[in-house]
């Protein structure tokens, strides 16, 4: 993110635009750069994690449990994680362009995911289906679930509540993340194309 905003907040973008005035191109090249920056890091971290798990299995002499299926499972989770990271990078780039400062964009993300979503999730549990957090989990882990309390008044005037599980499918998670990424990118692109640069 700071990679994207460095140019905007230092003003170097003005110089760049006198070399490449096609803003759409400049924008996508930034998104690409953000993804290229993020993907290797995520891939490496995941590989280390998987390697660690393998090592742990090996030490405990339980490698017999590791089948071809385990590997393909690991690979597909890794793949989905990479896709999610790419989406996050694109959204990060979009936020960077919209908010102009890395700190602002980062702050926005932290406040959104860390604070706003918690508050919303607690206040209106049904809305958890549409939280970024839920959908990211659903996508990477192949589906997730959340619980809501369904309360009905009983004869004595009290409430009877039961927890109901609601499932969120991987497909929903994927489409949701795709939607967020596309909307954020298009919005940022429109703003960037029209913005006065000084």
């Amino acid at each position: 993110m700071s990679f994207v905003t460095a140019e905007i907040s230092t003003g170097a973008i003005g110089l760049w635009l006198t070399f490449e005035p096609r803003r759409q191109r400049v924008y996508w090249s930034k998104v690409a750069a953000a993804m290229l920056g993020v993907l290797p890091v995520v891939a490496l971290a995941y590989a280390i994690m998987a390697g660690g798990a393998y090592g742990a299995f090996a030490l405990n002499d339980r490698l017999g449990n590791v089948t071809g299926e385990t590997w393909s499972e690991l690979a597909s989770v890794g793949g989905r994680l990479l896709v999610a990271s790419a989406g996050t990078a694109a959204v990060g780039a979009a936020l960077g362009v919209l908010l102009k400062h890395a700190a602002a964009a980062l702050g926005f993300l932290v406040v959104w995911v860390g604070v706003l979503e918690n508050v919303v999730g607690a206040a209106v549990p049904e809305l958890q289906r549409w939280l970024v957090r839920t959908n990211v989990t659903a996508w990477t882990e192949g589906g997730t679930a959340f619980w809501i309390n369904d309360c009905t008044p009983d004869e004595t005037g009290g409430m009877v509540c039961e927890s109901i599980e609601r499932a969120v499918t991987q497909t929903q998670g994927g489409l949701f993340l795709l939607g967020v990424t596309v909307v954020a990118s298009l919005l940022a692109l429109v703003v960037f194309r029209r913005r006065d640069v000084s």
Binding site: T10, G11, A12, G14, L17, T18, F19, P21, S198
Partner: protein, 330 residues
């Protein structure tokens, strides 16, 4: 519109830009008609806040005009800017490079972006005299070095049109002179240089043509010589009977204006001719001083008049001898 078949390097028509500000809309540029001919150094002059930088930003597609059109080498900008951007090198105010990178690294990045040949970065660093410090971080550069790096960056593309917005800002006299020489040599190589400034003595020494704007409008344009009194200096003539002398000189075809207790005669090629003309009528000259009006006094006069006259349109220099906008562009 142009009298010559040649397409001007820069041409704007009724270009207008307002900025949103706390007090409603602030005018940046107000219906500017600017013509910069191909070749030579063109001074773009105006007091602070008159809209020079705003105009340049619009030409470069950094800022969106509210209305009006602008063309660079006949290509409408910003729409067709990608077609000409390779021929335009520009510095807008003080350009920003990546502070953590060296001059060379910054230029390498830009060169890569435009596919400039490998040796080009070295060449331009050489040209602006930055070779020795090229490996130091940009962060540690002095103002003058930053300005030179900016010029080096504009030269990367080997452009036909160079736009410099106050390139001598913060430079020492030697640096100013170097930049002047650079501009001159670029012009001599057939490039067009558009240089904005309010240091008039500077521009006067290097510019072939100038445009003067105030409050976002063009108030005069033409060659420097035309603006400051073509074909020669003004001459201050001291004579006892100024009224008669003025009549005599006007009859002889000079442009005469009173100047205190003497007369000012503009555009004099041969001062001795004045003496002869007056002596022929028994008027004896006791003072004959060539006065170089200079761009600065013309500028101050024009700007002063403009500000006094509000938005009155027809502005002429000294008794209508000189160029107005309409004459230049017609």
């Amino acid at each position: 519109m142009q009298s010559t078949a040649e397409v001007p390097a820069v041409e704007t028509r009724a270009l207008r830009k307002t900025y949103r500000s706390r007090r409603g809309r602030a005018v940046g540029v107000e219906g500017l008609d600017l013509v910069v001919p191909v070749g030579g150094v063109h001074g773009f002059l105006g007091p602070n806040g008159s809209g020079k930088t705003t105009t340049i930003r619009m030409l470069l597609g950094l800022v969106r005009a509210d209305s009006g059109t602008a063309r660079i080498f006949g290509h409408e900008v910003p729409r067709h800017l990608p077609d000409v951007v390779g021929r335009v090198g520009a510095i807008v105010e003080s350009p920003k490079f990546f502070p953590a990178f060296s001059a060379r690294r910054n230029l390498d990045l830009l060169a890569a972006a435009i596919g400039a040949p490998g040796g080009r970065v070295g060449e331009v660093l050489e040209e602006v005299g930055l070779c020795e410090r090229a490996r130091d971080r940009y962060r540690g550069y002095s103002l003058g070095m930053k300005q030179r790096l900016a010029i080096a960056a504009t030269l990367l593309k080997d452009p036909d049109l160079l736009i410099f917005d106050e390139p001598t800002n913060g430079l020492d006299p030697a640096g100013i002179r170097e930049i002047r020489d650079t501009m001159r040599s670029l012009a001599d190589r057939g490039k067009t240089v558009l240089v904005s400034s309010h240091i008039l003595a500077e521009v006067e020494q290097v510019a072939d043509t100038v445009s003067i704007i105030t409050r976002g409008r063009l108030i005069a344009s033409g060659s420097v010589a035309e603006l400051i009194g073509a074909g020669g200096a003004s001459v201050r003539v001291g004579v006892a009977d100024t009224a008669l002398a003025a009549t005599v000189l006007r009859e002889a075809g000079w442009v005469v204006r009173p100047d205190g207790r003497s007369l000012m005669v503009d555009g004099v090629e041969d001062p001795a001719a004045i003496t002869r003309a007056l002596a022929g009528r028994d008027l004896w000259v006791d003072e004959l001083v060539p006065v170089q009006a200079g761009l600065e006094s013309v500028f101050l006069e024009l700007v002063g008049k403009d500000e006094a006259a509000g938005s009155r349109h027809d502005r002429r220099v000294r008794d209508g001898r000189h160029t107005t906008v309409e004459e230049v562009t017609a």
